[in-house]
Each structure stands twice: as C-alpha cells, then as structure tokens.
Amino acid sequence: MYAQDKSDSSKALSPVNVTAEKKQNPFTAIVPVQLLNREALQQINAETIAGASKYFSGVLIKDYGGVGGLKTISVRSLGGQNTGLVYDGIAIADAQAGQIDLSKFSSTFVQSLELDQANPQQIPIPARIYSAASILSFTSNTFNTSNFTQSKWMAGANVGSFGLWRPYAGVYLPVNKNMVASATAEATWARGNYPYEVVNGMFSQERDRSNSDIRAFQGEMNLVNRFADSSALQTKIWGYYSERGLPGSIIYFNDISEQSLEDKDLFVQSRYLKKFNAATSLLISAKYSSMYTKYTDPNFLNNAGGLDDRYTQNEIYGSAAVSQRAGNYFSFSLAADLAYTHLSANINPFPTPTRTSIWSIFVIQFNKSHWQINASLLNTNINDKTELGSPAVVENKFTPAFAIGYKTKPESPFLFRFFYKDIFRMPTFNDLYYTYNSNINPKLRPEYSNQYDVGLTYLKNFKSGLSQVSISIDGYYNTIKDKIIAVPSQNLFVWTMQNIGKVQIKGLDFNSQANGGITSSLKWSLRVAYTWQEALDVTNASSAVYKNELPYTPIHSGSALAVLYYKNWSTGYSILFSGKRYTLGENDPSNQLAGWNTQDIFVSRQLSFRDINLTLKGEINNIFNEQYDVIQYYPMAGRSYKLSISINNL
C-alpha cells in the first residue's frame, strides 16, 4: 500500500534481526497469505485484531456485538478451534475453549496482522504453529526495531459513542547499544448501551443494550538483547485484565441479564535466535501463560443462589527449531515443541485435566527459479490426565502438508500455487470435561480437516500513475470429518459433544490491492476482498439437513477499503458485507438471517512540529445505521462516532 511519508512507523521501526520479521509481499507467497500492515490497520477503524480480521477473505468473525462481545475467527468454514493465534512468533492457546476471544488484543500497537492458510513458510519455526489449519499472527510494534540508539514514544486516546474511552501510551528506550526496553499500555472503558430493534413478527420495539459495559486494561513490556555473535533474545511480558457484563441473547419477553465475566491473563515469553552462519539457524522459544476466568450469574437457579464459576488455566511451553540450507536449492528444518497445560476450577466435581502435548515437524523446502516447494510432516502426541473420571484417549498422529508455487519465468508477474494440508484438532477441555457427563464425553475423537487450494496471483509494479496492482484468486475444497458438534441430550439445557459431523466446503477467495497517484500530491490506495463459499453438511444423507449450508455461513461476503491521500490529509471509505445466512443447519426460510453491510468513513489530518507528529482522526462507523446481527439475537451497534488523537515522535 502507499506509504504516508512521516507517519509510516514501519519505516522508523524497521525489521529486526531477531527473526525473519521482514514481511514478504503476500501476493508472492505459495500459500494464501493476507496482510494488514500498520497503516491499513489505522485506516479500517478497527480497534482490535478481531475487527481488523473482518477485512480478510474467507474469514468469519463470530461477533456477539459491542466492545465486550465475544469475537472469534473461523477461516474457510473450518471452525474457530482450527485457527491458530500467534503473537510475536509464539502461539497463544486456550486448551479449555480451543479458541481465543480476539477482542482481547488491541490493534493500537500492532505492527502487522497476517492470516496464513496452511503453514507459514519461514523457517525455523516452532512446530506448534503447524498444528492449526490456518494461522492468524500479529506482531508488536515494539519488537520490530533495528534502531538501538533513539528513544521513541507514542500516546493518544480514542473517544467514541456509547461511552467508549480508550487512552494509550507506549515508550521505547535504548538501554545501551545492544539492549532496548519498551512498554505499552492501553485502557478501555465502554458502556455499550447502543440502541437496537427487537422484532417479533409484526411487532418491533426500540431498546438499548444493557449489561453490555466493559472495562479492560492491557499492557506489555519487552526487552530485546543483541549479542556479540549477532544472536538475539526477545522477552515479553503481556497482561490483560477485564470486567464485563454479558448482555446475553435477546429473549422475547425476558430481557434481564446480570451475568458477568472477569478475565486475568498473563504470559511471559522469550525467543532466542542464533544464526551460526548463512546456512544454519537455531530458534529457541519458551512461554509461561496463565488465564483466569470468572463467570457469575446471580440469577442462576441453583441451591447456592447463583453461579460463580472460576477457571484457571496454566501452561508451560517450550520449542527448539533448527534450519539448515543444503546446496543452492534445498533447506531443511526440524522443530520439537512441548506444552504442559493444566486447568483447575472451583466447580465440584471437576475433572481437573492436564494435557501434555508434543509436536515435531520436519520441513523440506526447495527453491529454484520457477519453482518453490514446501513439504512438511507433523507429528502430534497428546496425552490427557484427569483427577476424576476417565481422560481422553492418547492421540499420536502424523499429518502432512505440501505447497508448491510455479512461475513460467522468474520475473513473471504471475504465480500459480497449490497446497494440501491434512490436520486435526483435539477436543478441547470444554468438549471433553464440561458438566457432569464426564463418563460420556471422553469417547470424543479428534476432528480432522483436509484442505486443497489452487490459486493464481498477479503482482505488478508500474512507473505511471498506477504504481502497483496485486490480485490473487484461490479456489479451495475442504472436508471435515468427525466434526465435534454439541447435541442436546436429556433436555434442552444439557448438551453433550459428539463426533458426528461431516462437512464439505467449496470456496473462492479473491483479493486485490492497488495504489497509485492521480497527481503528485493526490494519491490513492484500494483493497478489495471477496469470498464465495458453500459449506455443506454431508453427515447423513437421510437427514433433513443433508447438503444444507452450515449455520452462519454466508455464500457471499467481502470487504473493501479505499483511501485518498492529499498532502497531510487522508480520507477513507470501507465496507464490510455478508449475504444471507441460516441460523440452523436446516436451511428453512424461517431460519434465515438477512444479509447486512456496514460502511465506515474517516478523515485524518497529520501535523508535525519538529520531531513530534500529531494525528487527528474522525470516524463515522456504520454510517447508514444498519441494524444487523452476526449471530442471531446478539444485535450489533448501529451508527457510531469516534475521535482519535495520537502524538508520537516515531
């Protein structure tokens, strides 16, 4: 994308020597890669990586509405538990739910957000990253630096509708010529009392969302050391605290919810990268993480007079990876990872599970003029133990992946690509050990997915008014077997998990970016993403839902962002849209949920005084006040306004 001259922090905070952070142009990758750089993240009015990820093709963000509403990502209809999340090179995992609420991660200090289908292609890499069907990774601003001399700082605030107030600040301090320390912090307050319309048949009513408030704080500290042998060590401490009301779904004639959720997350992670020579590299990663969740419902009708469930999940994780180049064309990599995860709760009885996971990968890469090939084999070994009841069976599986890229000529703007990936996800702790049915659920097996993708990319630079055009089109075919599905059991309140689903997914992802200049001071950039998808339930040919669309899977969806730059001004328009979907597996018209689109605009002005930059930005989000649900009965906010101010010396 076109880079603004002074505000482009990616220039000031350029790539590090710690790992190969340098971002390849996503339109030249042999697996589909989508990237939002820092500049684009600022322009799409997204506050967290959840909002930003909505601009990727093939992605469904399950958004329960409001700042505090749960937001998880499903890529190419494979389901939320099949997407891995990686922050600064190390996985963020939740063995309890199997998916992470992306609204926990503010985009304020994020340098880049990337979605990789199948496997990221850089080596060495921790083996765990290969254990997901797709990877959403983001990097922090503070890690990416080759500058060990100049101190930097950044501070600002956003103020918006429905009681939104979000101040933030960050500093970056060289300690000596080989060490840099940085710290960032952000707080969020929101009332979330946005109006919505309840419609029941011919009747409708305007209401304000209640019990939808949140206060959250997140902060991190980083230390980067550079050693004499040119190896490097990064250490990060990340913390998150939030308290929020859970407004619940809209229930006709019953609108009281007093449920609340409290989160306390902490992790410490380190990466050490040593390049022995141009051919051999070693990457050591380690992490400790702790996640505490407290869920309360004073109106739950148990004998204790309400629910107060507390869960603590601790994990210790380590990884060692080596890569070796052999000759001019081949590279090899080996990695082995170990994670030990423990979940405890104040619930009685509770199985208190622990999970020991070992991942190992062997990767071969081949790179020669027209051809790029990446083949890998992952071994996963998962072993659960429980203090009560029977644990899940031990899993030990080998799963392959293969990707190939071909160009007719090395300098050709076209790239053909193909990948195949075979992977599985383990049942989560919630799948296996939730509620009292501990004797039933451990029969669950892993859920398998297969992905096939064929794509074509085009990337060309021009010298005229149009500077760069990139296009990618990928067709894909995925299958899922033994899909883990919740099924109501003895009554409508108790559900059990069963491996009963089979799914067939066909899709087409289209991505395009272009930028250029109309005059020397008037420039533009455009990005468009579109997805066509058909995700069909093929579990049982005699069932009413056979070959029906999976719930909440629109056939058409997409996004676009257009920005104009004039001197120190910029203005942009963005749109997200989704076609109609069904809320249930049975695609009856009564289960249909209308399509929607939201359109946002912004105007931004940058002012500079010596080294200091001041950016002012005004946004109108959902300008046409679209009333819509992503998940039925969890209404989304209509039109809202936001003002931002940011000061920095970047």
Partner: protein, 355 residues
C-alpha cells in the same frame, strides 16, 4: 486503474449487497380450528422459536406456527409444556418466563401470566390442572397456583429444588424435584394436598426424579435419571397411601405415561430410542416395542395418549435442531397418520382439542 474503474467496483459491491438480503416467505394460510390436535414445538433454547402446530383431523393437514399466524407475533423462547383446560390453552414459556393463555378454538391470544420475580425469570416448566386451578412448576423451586377465572397467580407453593414434572393423583399434587441446576441432584417428590395448597411432605424416590405418572389407584411412577455417571437411572413405583417405594428397577426412561393398566415410556437420553409398554406391577415388558408396523421414529421425545381412544402421539425430535415429526398410532401400535411440524423443532407435547 482509473477512477471510473474504482467507481465500478463500488457499484458492483452495492449491487451484491442488495441481492443478498433475506428471502421473503409467503404468509401461510390459517385454517379454522375444528377437531384435531395442538402440538407444542419447543424450538431451540435461545432461538425464540417456540411454535404451535395445529393438525386438523378432517383435512389431514397441519399448520405450524399457528399462534404466529393468528396473532402476528411469536410465543418466544423454549415452550416447555402446555395444557388445554376450560376452553383455554396454557402454554408454559420457560426461557421467556411467562405463561401464554390462548383461546382453544381460535388460538387468539388472551393474556400473559408473568413468571418474573423482581424482573428475574422463575423458569416456569410444567403445567397440570385440577379443581378449576392450573398449577405451574418453576425452576426456582415453586409451584404457582393460577386462578382460571381471573388468570392470576394466587399463590406460590414452595417445593424442592428445580421441580420438573407434576401429576395429580387422588386429592394430591405430586411434584418431582430434580435439583438439576446444582452439583448434587435432589431425589424427592413433594406432596401438595389440593385442599391445603402447601407442601405437607416429601417422598424420597431416587436421584434426579423427572417424569411422573399415576394409575389413579394409589400409586405414582417416577423416572429417576440418576447422575449420568455412578448412579444409574431407575424407574420407581410409589404407594401414595403409605408413601413408600414399592417397586424399583434399573431402567432408563425419558417420559412415562399411564393408560389402561399399562406404562408407556420413551427411552429418553440414556435409554433405547423407542416407545415401549410395561406392566405397572413388575415393570416387565408387555411390548418392548410399542410400534408394530415397522414405522421408524428416530428420537421419540413427546409422548401423549388420547384417554378416550387410546391413540398414542409420539413427537420425533430427530436431532433436536431440525424440524420434528408427529406420529399417531392406534393402541395396537399401527400408525394412523403422521405429519411434519416443519419448521417447528422438538415436538414435546400433543394435546387433543376438545370442543
């Protein structure tokens, strides 16, 4: 790329948006209620999709979402039970927290009886009627007494924790207390004499009592589901005169009904997916499979018996998330007719419309 190309892309997008909104469904016809049955389709918890199906005997046709067609709005979330009594239908809306009172012959909405305490849902669950009163059990540990002339709650009777089902036997109302919302289940049945309208005692029957039936001869039958683990499900027979368990056997059932000196059961979650008939004395199987003509029912969920003809209505909930089917069998187990409740989900109760 020129500016007009950019414009073209925007136009294409807007076009796609307009072509992707919800399909319109034609409003269904609403035939007049004559003789037939109402079926309560529970829907899915949290989906506001409880529906009433009317099946017309004469025409052999069903109309689902009859309540919506007549009244222009939906019942709400998770209807758990209903009863026809004194020319009115009382529909218990568990998650919406109210009882809808509807005219039997028109399905016209008459009134709502609210089940909130300081705005918080009590969780109304089961309904029975006797001596001009309608009784509704609620998850909050109460049984509400509804005056059928004023359609108001005159009293909340405190019972055990999370009461589920009720039966009137002799001069008493019996309520099974599940305790299902707590870590430890309840195992009692509350006794409420109809002339006192207060709990006078409890009978210990077995862990997690649910469905309950009576032979109108001094005995009640209770399905005790156990804890899905170490404590197995049981069927229990209680002599109400001396309040003692007279017969108990390890067997897994969902619903139990008594008719003409036989117990009709569904297998429920832990049992076999069929309807069987048992001897009420020793629980031996009279007919292990009630169905005799080979009709396949995927998931027998609703079970109701026409007290005059002995016809048996079985609601097939299938996978609990797609449209249900209702089967009517004669007492020999041969299917008389069947109809879909589409788009209604989980047909839980079928009630005869008595003119």
């Amino acid at each position: 790329m020129k500016k007009d190309n950019l414009l073209l892309i925007v136009i294409l997008f807007v076009f796609t948006i307009f072509s992707c909104t919800k399909d319109k469904t034609p409003p269904p016809a609403t035939p007049k209620v004559t003789t037939g049955v109402y079926v309560l389709d529970q829907g899915i918890y949290g989906h506001n999709n409880t529906m009433l199906t009317y099946y017309d005997f004469a025409g052999g046709t069903q109309t689902t979402d009859y309540f919506m067609n007549v009244n222009g709005f939906g019942l709400g979330d998770t209807g758990s039970d209903f009863i026809i009594y004194g020319g009115k239908v009382y529909i218990v809306m568990n998650n919406s927290g109210y009882v809808a009172v509807v005219s039997t012959l028109t399905a016209m909405f008459i009134d709502t009886i609210d089940f909130k305490k300081a705005g918080v849902n009590r969780g109304p669950e089961n309904v029975v009627a006797a001596e001009g009163k309608v009784f509704v059990s609620s998850t909050d540990g109460t049984v509400a007494v509804i005056d059928t002339t004023t359609l108001t709650i005159t009293k909340f009777i405190k019972v055990g924790s999370n009461p589920a089902q009720m039966v009137v036997a002799g001069d008493n109302l019996y309520v099974s207390n599940t305790g299902g919302f707590s870590a430890t289940y309840d195992s009692t049945v509350s006794i409420i004499p109809l002339n006192i309208l207060a709990e006078t005692g409890k009978i210990t029957v077995g862990l997690n009592p649910g469905s309950i039936a009576t032979d109108n001869g001094g005995n009640i039958f209770v399905v005790c589901t156990g804890n899905y683990g170490s404590v197995a499900p049981r069927l229990v027979k209680v002599n109400t005169n001396n309040k003692t368990v007279v017969k108990s056997a390890d067997s897994a059932f969902g619903t139990v009904r008594y008719f003409n000196n036989a117990l009709y059961t569904t297998g429920g979650y832990l049992g076999a997916a069929n309807v069987s008939i048992l001897n009420p004395e020793d629980f031996s199987a009279i007919r292990p499979s009630f169905v005799t003509d080979g009709t396949t029912i995927i998931n027998p969920y609703g079970l109701d018996i026409d007290p005059v003809t002995g016809d048996v209505y079985v609601g097939d909930a299938k996978d609990y998330v797609s449209s249900g089917q209702v089967y009517c069998f004669d007492k020999t187990g041969k299917m008389k007719f069947s109809f879909t409740t589409s788009p209604g989900i989980s047909p839980a109760r079928t009630q005869l419309i008595v003119q």
